[in-house]
Subunit: 367 residues, 4 copies
């Protein structure tokens, strides 16, 4: 099964283990003529990179993308784009000790039950290292979406453990290492994370993503709905335990008269729906939220089992993030962008390139 391929028309196939020789991907179905250069990948890869601050894992990867195919004289040609990143800092010895252990909260036991064999080095294929290629592939997707439709995808941390933003100002998100939308709270977060790291424990996080500029009409009912594919995309990220579109679980306690977004000639009067109705974009901003569990790689020992069925004490001494949700923000953005370009191409296939019909309602007045 091609379960390492994401997308149907803009199809990204990733490969590679955390501590193998390299990770890479193949992008198939990319529109021709998009300008692309190795340096285009740098900014987003740095945003997700480990080792950026003391609050994330200290693994140091150059993450230099090599373009192997599909680009000629700086432009995509329509043929498959091969991207490669060498793993330069594996430090496999950190993991040798746990090769025969099943770490609680990790995929070790599940992989071993499935395949009867597993690559234990750094979590092998189940490591978040794989998401690097999602971010790389999304660089091309975002470029096309921005140039052709003005689509912009932006994520931010909307909860860190028990802390929530007091205000939402997207303009400050890139200015702090937490992708936090309230500049006033950054010092508080620093103190919280320092204490957490000291304790040897970890904590969960919530990430919100907003995409603006998405035209109405993207999404394919009924099993290729825009929100359904977003849910699959976001849930496929390591450590994700929940996905919401628009008001999400808050909708449960809402009344219909409150939830439904009024339509006016000036635009939608609110956005409880999160930009999608019946699985198709409405032209409102697309809003989704993602729940990240706390990482299970802790210095604090825990009872586990080994491959022989013996009880063992599991302690993780490698480099790990006390909150994996923080640098997952660019990964969430990447997955949203990959869903959008795929749906854009699918819409174009069935309905043509002509754009939408009148009356077209402006995205939103407020809300």
């Amino acid at each position: 099964m091609s379960s390492n391929t994401f997308g149907k028309l803009f199809a990204v196939t990733t490969f590679g283990e955390s501590h193998g020789p390299a990770i890479g991907c193949v992008i198939d179905g990319c529109p021709p003529g998009i300008g692309i250069a190795p340096e285009d990948f740098r900014r987003d890869l740095e945003r997700r990179a480990t080792g950026r601050t003391r609050h994330t894992s200290q693994r140091r990867e150059a993450d230099e993308v090599e373009i192997l195919s599909g680009v000629y004289e700086g432009r995509t040609t329509g043929t498959p784009i091969g991207l490669l990143i060498r793993n330069t800092d594996p430090r496999s010895k950190d993991y040798a000790r746990i090769a025969e252990q099943f770490r609680p909260g990790h995929a070790d036991y599940a992989y071993w039950q499935k395949y009867g064999i597993r690559d234990p080095r750094g979590g092998g294929r189940s490591s978040a290292r794989e998401t690097t290629m999602r971010v790389a592939a999304a660089v091309i997707a975002k470029k096309w979406l921005a140039e052709k439709f003005g689509v912009r995808v932006q994520g931010y941390l909307s909860q860190l453990g028990g802390i929530v933003p007091r205000g939402i100002d997207l303009s400050v998100v890139e200015d702090n290492p937490f992708f936090w939308p309230d500049a006033q709270q950054v010092a508080e977060l620093e103190r919280y994370m320092d204490a957490l790291r000291k304790s040897g424990d970890s904590v969960g996080a919530r990430v919100d993503v907003v995409a603006t500029g998405v035209p109405p009409g993207w999404g394919e009912p009924v099993y290729g709905k825009l929100d359904g594919e977003l849910a699959a995309a976001l849930m496929s990220i390591n450590a994700v335990k929940g996905v919401e579109i628009g008001d999400g679980f808050a909708s449960v306690a809402q009344k219909g008269s409150e939830h439904r977004d009024r339509m006016t000639p000036q635009g939608f009067a609110s956005n409880h729906a999160g930009g999608v109705l019946g699985g198709i974009s409405t032209g409102q901003p697309l809003r989704c939220s993602v729940a990240f569990k706390p990482t299970s790689s802790l210095r604090l020992p825990v009872e586990g089992l080994d491959v022989h069925g013996n009880v063992v004490d599991v302690v993780t001494t490698g480099r790990h993030d006390p909150c994996v949700g923080i640098r997952a923000t660019p990964i969430c953005e990447a997955m949203v962008a990959l869903v959008l370009i795929d749906q854009a191409l699918r819409h174009r296939a069935q309905c043509g390139d002509v754009g939408t019909v009148a009356p077209r309602i402006p995205g939103q007045i407020h809300g």
Copy 2:
């Protein structure tokens, strides 16, 4: 794009509009030799049927399934199974008035922007009528899963508006029209729903689904993860706005030392993960939750637009559920079952029929 097909190996393709001549589906890839008869469909179709109590829409459909192919002398043959249900009670006149209106909170505007044409009768393809075929297809899936693996999938309402169960007793779920797990609260729910219907408003709901008996090893990293496919499957149901696996959004505020499920020779000591790690089942019970928004079809008027851009007053007078989440419970179960059989077949394709390797940890002690 084949976006009306769910599943890769147990592939269910549905068709049909709410008020067209019929709805139906084709199931491709079904294992041969499963005993199946028209009456097998009845129980589950009745569970999701409209008109069952005064708390759901009063539309009255016989929902008699005709098996058109793929079954010979009562057993599946491995060839595609065609199922058909005639629409016997469309009452299209109820909807004539809104043919040119975009109902707020509905898919009308989105469909019209996408396709430039829409079937307005009863919501056309965007109606929850389509989910009937999911339930029908899942009858076959559940039978195979139960007979071959002992898998059991059970759903229940875990929140109705602001009301939550005081206790969880799955044995009472089928005894009340709300799929509610606490028999003591049924009278309270009746009163709540009566008042809601009277007010002309609607409310959201939350459905939980538990699948027991799932062996470890099902699910395909990284883009065919069990939880990712569950998310897509559940989000594809009409009115769903959120999906959680295991502790879901509660994980955000948890510590890693609290979230990770200890493994003991007697089984997992808890089930925060919800039965899946790294996208692969662990053998623990599979747990997921789904958020349903309140339906937007209300007697209460709301400002909307028509296809000419004029402001109109939208009032919905047809038969509609004041809480669509209630009878969505069997639909959620159906989608979980469809995901499971597909993953079971995919696992068998890659890894064979032999089952899991030792040590196999019992599902769970408690939690």
Copy 3:
């Protein structure tokens, strides 16, 4: 596996057995706005229908198509189109005797080995009855291809047993029951077929299909090549044993200087390639040929086996064509049309709706 679905973007899923209650299909991904009515299906279904002349099987089916979904007020809506044809003349008793026999040259033994069960009535799923739905689905495809691009797909019989056309005049093909391109030979064919039927034997045939108006640029290297998909499509028709594109097997003995088609400002000077280079259409007429084996359903007895391993004498007494290739002509056309619309949509997805770049070479001067 969804192996009863043809096409990726214009996805046709067929179901139904020869002697079950009905056959049908679901067309997913159809562009919206195509005008379609039940009578549109009639002409092509009659062209492939059995019982038309004494030279084909005497089964008499009305083959009345019911449109179940996806069409509103005479136009496609973009949602899945369900088509249904009831089997009105099964006469299953003809086949009762061979339920436990494996007929040589038939799929009986292969199905039984694969699935451990088979529907013996009229060949079940392996009957050419299934191809009716291909022809029906292609009616919509051809309409879109003709209206939007001026594409025309025409087939003819290019060999019947040892007889080959003395001349090729496509304008006479529809005027005789053999789809034969030389009106002078029709009487000879009648005599040949009468003698063949009398003998109880059958014979093979060769069908050629030409598609004109195909713009350059359709086809997706390297595993979705236009010629590769044509080969798969045509080989999937019952009784087909070979497929050629352009000069086909004659290319083996050709020199490169002879085979390569010169390009001039007035067009290609020849068409050895058959309209496709590198898997992509060139704008030349698309040419392909298909080899049909003689049917194995004969009155002449043959040694076979039964399900218990016993040697039995197999005699087929039902209604069967002495040359299945004759009425396969519209089926070949249908498959070419289904490949073309799928490739057209795929091309539009990746490369947009804009059309081709200059210089565009006219289809062909001659050849």
Copy 4:
């Protein structure tokens, strides 16, 4: 569209241009536990390699496969296998002159019309260089097929221009550079090819492939038939213009009484079908034939056009095979193996791992 992926369950995605930095592939869905080492690839890659004799192109590539992922301690892990081959001998200057020319008989014009841009270096993506990765991927497929089922896939040249083998002795095929099954004719072929190269012209070829050991039951009716997928697979190879299964086009002139293979308790009495009936393998040897056109890259000048529409004289001076069919033999074998493993996994998914039912007829007595 993922058109650079071959196979559904054993999914091989290739990337890379002839003269780009590298070619590679990702194999997704590979069964875990297959022993594999870099040297396993060597034999087959050498068999298809250029420069082996004076009768093939003089390009000299080391074709050293680097395993980037999916293999741990010498065994496949079930995760995607990344394979990479660096292009070490591109010599792009040979092609600079033709960057603006459309070479007749080549994909230049078609690519340029499709994408509006093309990589002219060595034919870019349309070069047969891509097939190297097919051969590499098939090494793993063949290993699994041989170890688990005893399947053996062997190809040979069955026609070179007008020359046909006088006898068929598969044991001599690997002993001569032409994969020719009659050792007596090798000197004749050498002389023929020397004269051809001297003339600056090229010639077509025919390749036959036989697969033995294929159990009955592989293949998925009706659009995933074994013969249909073989046709697609073989037609996707560069320069292929025709595909036959079993007797192929010879069936056209056959009678039904002659074509149908009698079944006896000792096996099938003949093999006109070529090992497949109704799209499913019968247990007989699988037989197929492939027609290769003569390459269009000739020293002999030909009239062509350039991108500005001007008439130009096209002369190809690079290194090219006078008969591309010769070293296509291992590529044909590779495609047959890739089809077989995919069908084997698909069969296992739907029907389980148990094998076939009695009576099982031995492959074949003779024929």
